[in-house]
Amino acid sequence: MTALAAARRGPGLRDAVRAEWTKFRTVRGWLVALVLAVGLLVLFSYLQAHGKHTGYCTGPGPGDCVNGHPYVPDGPGGEAVADAYELASRPLTGDGTITARITSLTGRIWAGASNEAPSLSDTRPGLAGWSKAGLLITPSTRQGAAYAAVMATGRHGVRFQYDYTHDQPGLSGLPSAGAARWLRLTRAGDTITAYDSRDGTSWHRIGDARLSGLPRTVRVGLFATSPNTYGGRASRATAAFDHIALRPSGGSGTAGVTASWRATSTGIGPRDFYTALGRGDVRRRGGSIIVSGSGDMAPAVAGAGADTASDSLLFGLVVAMIVLIVVATMFATSEYRRGLILTTLAATPRRGRVLLAKAGVIGAAGFAVGAVASAVAVPFAEQVMRANGNYIYPTTPLTIARVIAGCGLLVALCAVAVLGIGTILRRSPVAILAGVVLFVLPAFTGPGVLGGPGGGGGAATWLYTVTPAAGFSVLGLMPRSRLVSFPYTMGNGYYPLAPWAGLLVLCLFVAGSLGAAAIVLGRRDA
């Protein structure tokens, strides 16, 4: 009885997988194709990396140009940051508190042609959303140093920010003569606490930050900076501070407005990447100190003219996917061509199981191709791009592992989707056509390909959101931050979906294709 039932059930999934694997590995052409796909992916990654150059010229002659990129500092967390600002500071040894009232925050925005270097000669009044001015504590004014700052901003009210990525809101509104904002930073050991107030008597604590390894003597002072606007125009902010008091915890020697505050401009040298509007400056007028500055203290997003470690992969992936599309189609349709499908279905009567086994085998082959090839190509192409003078956004090994696994999954899912289409149609060419149209043609509109602010417009965004091409989001490595107002669009190198979301969209298509194939295979005469 049980033997009969077992016989009716047919062999288990493991046997079905083993059968399909045997069919796959005994066609020498397919194995050669897989090796070829790996080789092509690496080769085209190299070509793509090789074609990317960044350089600068020191003179008009042909020998005056060298490979190299502007300097992009790394923040305390290892991420790329923008760190350009004007600071009027004094040393503070040990614990202490700095307090100041900010009575105005105004700015200028570059109004000249977008292809010219911004200068103060042609500006209009206005602030960027993240123009900022306030109090700052930092171990040094070196770019990328740790810091904590409480500040008024152009459109986001009072904020407490530290180490470029952390942000907590305080009072809302822009400071003005009628609605001045009081700010305070307190240092106790490694802990910095931020406060704000409307009147200087009732204080509200915004939050605190631990800056580990803070030296005993730090720089403390008043800063101003102003980032590029959403439209990409450089800006410059000017803030007026009064009621300034820097008080060490020992109690003696409070420094006020008449003390000597040292002015420092950070991050606006000729080799620094951030586009600043004019030079910053610090002036004293009556009981006020007025600080003007341009730049940003935030994560560096695209616009640093930078590449990511995955930037060289797109084209090679597309080539490898064409090979896998052909192999997956043949894996599905050659059974019909040779009549082997009758034997297969006789041996494994549960037809869904056959399909699942086939999907497993071709999926594993696709994953191996995508993962192995990108594991070779990513570090190799990164070397080539660096040697060509390109800046590559810093990544962690975990992120690289994510990209490699993502490439494997992308190729695997593409192969499984095409296998489903091939099983439904039983014939090769239309399945290949569908695979190429769905997975290869979107690369023509990929991020950065069309270039320019309008590039990769609405159609491309749509393509990479709701079609299988969404799976290419696994290549997305460009950093984004809500602390930087920037068009995170395809034209600027940003995929519309997060990597996992893009893979999920692709998975839905694969599920649809395999599900339809299972239904058709189950109902149809083989």
Partner: protein, 259 residues
């Protein structure tokens, strides 16, 4: 020869998905053109050279050529898949005649499909381009067959599709397997322009001058002819050379090889 053509025509028209695919060429071309134009918007006074309305209207051809290629590949390789080729060769021992008859029937079928496809794309351009901000008010010409350059682009694009079909027939005869042949043709068409996106300078230009798709599509250009990789007819000539090379190669291997 007329018997060979009649035989090939019978085989072609009775191929399972042939009429679906033929209708697909027209539908894909017009739908892709219309879809692209409906989502395009050019703001007035945008920098750079003005758009080429005829070339924009014919965008759908970039996609429809894939269907043409698949039809042509199928017409050749399915004979190998089913073993029919042995019967064909027994019936008509002059092997080049079979390939020539195949090429002729597929070219005629492609021409017949390409005319409504190109006409539909141009009509979509005429209707949709003004809505995309490309109209006489901005100094851009309307798409009209009355203009000599547009007429040349329209006729040339019909010929382009026929040449793509001939190229596919030749490659199909060389490769013989449907899947590999389809992959090869589509790769040959779409990979060079992708690669060209990554290159700069003379390499990019040379690649675009000799690749079948980028060279052949120069025939669509009606404005800024200097920016195109080849002059229109030279470009189409490059594609014709590809097609001729593939057909000759296919003829030679068909003659010398065991079927």
């Amino acid at each position: 020869m007329s018997a060979a053509v009649a035989a090939e025509w019978t085989k072609l028209r009775t191929l399972g998905e042939m009429w679906w695919l033929a209708a697909g060429v027209i539908a894909v071309a017009i739908a892709a053109s219309a879809g692209m134009l409906a989502t395009t918007h050019v703001s007035p006074g945008a920098p750079g050279p003005g758009p080429d309305p005829t070339k924009l209207a014919l965008t759908g051809i970039d996609l429809a050529q894939a269907v043409v290629a698949v039809i042509a590949v199928l017409a050749v390789t399915e004979e190998y898949g089913t073993g029919m080729i042995r019967v064909s060769l027994a019936a008509i021992p002059r092997r080049e005649a079979i390939l020539a008859a195949k090429a002729l029937t597929i070219a005629v079928l492609t021409l017949a499909v390409a005319v409504p496809a190109v006409a539909g794309c141009l009509a979509a351009g005429r209707l949709l381009l003004p809505g995309a901000g490309i109209d006489p008010a901005q100094g851009d010409p309307l798409v009209t067959l009355g203009a000599g350059a547009t007429m040349r682009a329209a006729l040339g694009t019909v010929l382009y599709l026929a040449l793509i079909a001939l190229l596919s027939v030749g490659l199909g005869a060389i490769v013989r397997d449907t899947a590999v042949a389809a992959g090869t043709v589509l790769g040959l068409l779409y990979l060079p322009p992708l690669l060209a996106l990554l290159l700069t300078g003379p390499w990019k230009r040379h690649l675009e001058q000799i690749a079948p798709m980028t060279a052949g599509l120069a025939i669509e250009t009606t404005r800024h002819l200097g920016a195109s990789p080849d002059t229109p007819w030279v470009g189409l000539g490059v594609l014709a050379a590809w097609a001729a090379g593939a057909l000759v190669g296919g003829g030679v291997v068909l003659r010398v090889r065991d079927a």
